[in-house]
């Protein structure tokens, strides 16, 4: 390295290759005079030395460059380039005119670096240590690895969550929804302003079955009751066992007192059919009370449950095995 008498630095191609392994030099007519070693690996044209730059590379600034003279005139030094032969990946470039003789174009791999490095089998030795390409590739790979691991964790947690929710939302004895699930689904009706009838239903004489025939008989009765409740309701309705022999039913889009009354009486009638368990006959019945979401300006689940409960106790008071509709103007009037 020596200093020119005008105070300019003279650098050999060898020094420039070490500094910029992805550069090329052209003379004042745009003929390629030097191609740095890493750039040679990317180029699929043989014998590029002596060829016009624009025959080897396609160059754009804000517009397509067709003549070398245009390149010397453009204000922006930022170039987008790709080799005319080969993969066509976009490279980034910087065009710097030399005082008397031509110009230097320094390139970098830009956003397609990973594909270019793979396609041309480049290694860390092909880049200047100051070039952050290798660090970028490290970061891409490290992030991908961490991201994949996080994604797998999320999938495992999602599976565990679904299993836990299914357990947490259903009553293991009857397969009906439990109180938590009832709460969840009825609140969804409220959120979406779906009109519905909310019925509380208690079994009558269930305690006698349990006490005289044992828990196994009681469990069997609960399962049979669940079958009846499911058969008498529709898919979109909510049927939940919320306590020992207490059930809550929510009838989606059904606020006709006459229809609900009919359903209630049909359920009670079916529950009164004697249930056989290991040679013994189990007799139960049910009392029920219902309120309607349309009774309220802003229906609230807790208030509705309390009103349905009040109607249910009115049924019990009347001698059980019947249904009471809650009426807002006359809270305990039997329908």
């Amino acid at each position: 390295m020596t200093f020119h008498e005008k105070g300019q630095l003279i650098l050999s191609d060898q020094v420039l290759d070490a500094l910029m392994p992805l550069h090329l030099r052209v003379d004042s007519t745009g003929i390629i005079r030097h191609f740095a070693p890493t750039l040679r690996k990317l180029c699929e044209t043989s014998d590029v030395i002596g060829k016009p730059l624009l025959d080897v590379l396609d160059i754009r600034t804000s517009r397509q460059i067709t003549e070398f003279a245009e390149l010397c005139d453009v204000r922006s030094a930022r170039l987008k380039l790709n080799f005319k032969q080969g993969s066509g990946y976009a490279l980034k470039g910087l065009f710097v005119p030399l005082p008397d003789q031509g110009a230097i174009v320094n390139l970098s791999l830009g956003i397609s670096m990973r594909d270019i490095v793979r396609d041309h089998g480049l290694s860390a030795a092909d880049f200047a240590p100051t070039d952050s390409t290798v660090d970028m590739l490290y970061l891409i790979e490290a992030n991908t690895t961490a991201w994949d691991e996080t994604k797998r964790l999320t999938e495992r947690l999602q599976g565990a969550k679904i299993a836990a929710e299914e357990q947490a939302f259903s009553d293991t004895l009857t397969g009906l929804k439990n109180r938590r699930a009832m709460d969840h689904f009825v609140r969804r009706f409220l959120d979406k302003a779906v009109p519905f009838g909310l019925m509380n239903l208690d079994l009558d004489y269930f305690k006698q079955v349990n006490d005289t025939l044992g828990h196994a008989a009681g469990d069997h009765v609960l399962q049979k009751v669940s079958e009846v409740l499911i058969s008498e309701t529709r898919d979109g309705d909510v049927v939940a066992r919320v306590g020992g022999d207490e059930f809550v039913l929510a009838f989606r889009n059904c606020v006709d007192p006459k229809i609900i009354e009919k359903i209630a009486l049909r359920i009670i009638t079916m529950l009164e059919v004697p249930i056989l368990f290991e040679g013994n006959i189990c007799n139960v019945s049910a009392s029920a009370g219902t309120t309607l979401s349309t009774h309220y300006e802003k229906p609230d689940l807790d208030v509705m449950l309390a009103h349905a409960d009040a109607a249910l106790y009115e049924s019990k008071r009347k001698g059980r095995a019947c249904h009471t509709m809650f009426m807002p103007d006359n809270p305990l009037k039997a329908y």
Binding site: A124, A125, E141, A142, T144, T145, L153
Partner: protein, 200 residues
């Protein structure tokens, strides 16, 4: 401690000795977690218990076990991602050694809350280096020893490694001495910058 450490120990035991051994170790360590998740955090004390129980079950001393763990992380095919990320450190083994200074910060780029030992490299002569390993938990220098031993094979160089305790007056740390005997001892394993990590 970040689950990545616990998860590494689990993978090492399962891949080397089998699932049954791992389940016995976990029972012995009184851990409620059987399968550790790499991306979750666990109590520091649990990691200590698991290492202790593993050493006991495998009849190894703690440092021997941690050294094996270090080798496993670099050599086992299930851990190819770890080997690859380490190999990004340098084109030659000596370049790689130079990159150890940055390892802590590099890993933080990908997993910001993972705490790893601070490593400081010093060249002592043409072919000898020291790596100071400072960490909240002592003993992890042995993992580094195992990793460097395996990486030397990976690069195809012959090294002599020696781990000793040191103290700079502020805190105790571990000092790993690296002696480069032969830089082109074997062909080593190939590494391509753009290759895919295992399992992708």
């Amino acid at each position: 401690m970040y689950g990545l450490v616990n998860r590494s120990i689990q993978c090492f035991v399962e891949d080397t000795y089998g699932r049954m051994v791992w389940e016995r170790i976990i029972a012995d360590a009184r851990s409620e977690v059987v399968d550790f998740e790499a991306m979750l955090s666990y109590d520091d004390a649990l990691t200590g218990q698991v290492i202790e129980a593993t050493a006991k079950h495998l009849s190894r001393d703690r440092s021997g076990l941690l050294e094996d763990l270090g080798s496993y992380l670099v050599t086992h095919q299930h851990m190819e991602a770890v080997r690859r990320l380490l190999r990004f450190g340098g084109h030659t083994f000596e370049d790689f050694l130079q990159s150890l200074d940055d390892l802590h910060d590099r890993v933080k780029l990908a997993v910001p809350d993972l705490e790893l030992p601070f490593l400081t490299l010093e060249q002592q002569s043409e072919e000898s280096y020291t790596v100071a390993c400072r960490f909240s938990e002592p003993g992890y220098g042995a993992v580094l020893l195992g990793m460097l031993r395996a990486l030397a094979d990976d690069y195809g160089v012959l090294v002599l490694l020696d781990l000793e305790d040191a103290n700079d007056g502020e805190a105790p740390y571990e000092l790993l001495k690296v002696n480069l005997l032969e830089t082109s001892f074997a062909s080593g394993r190939s590494f391509s910058l753009a290759g895919q990590a295992a399992g992708q």
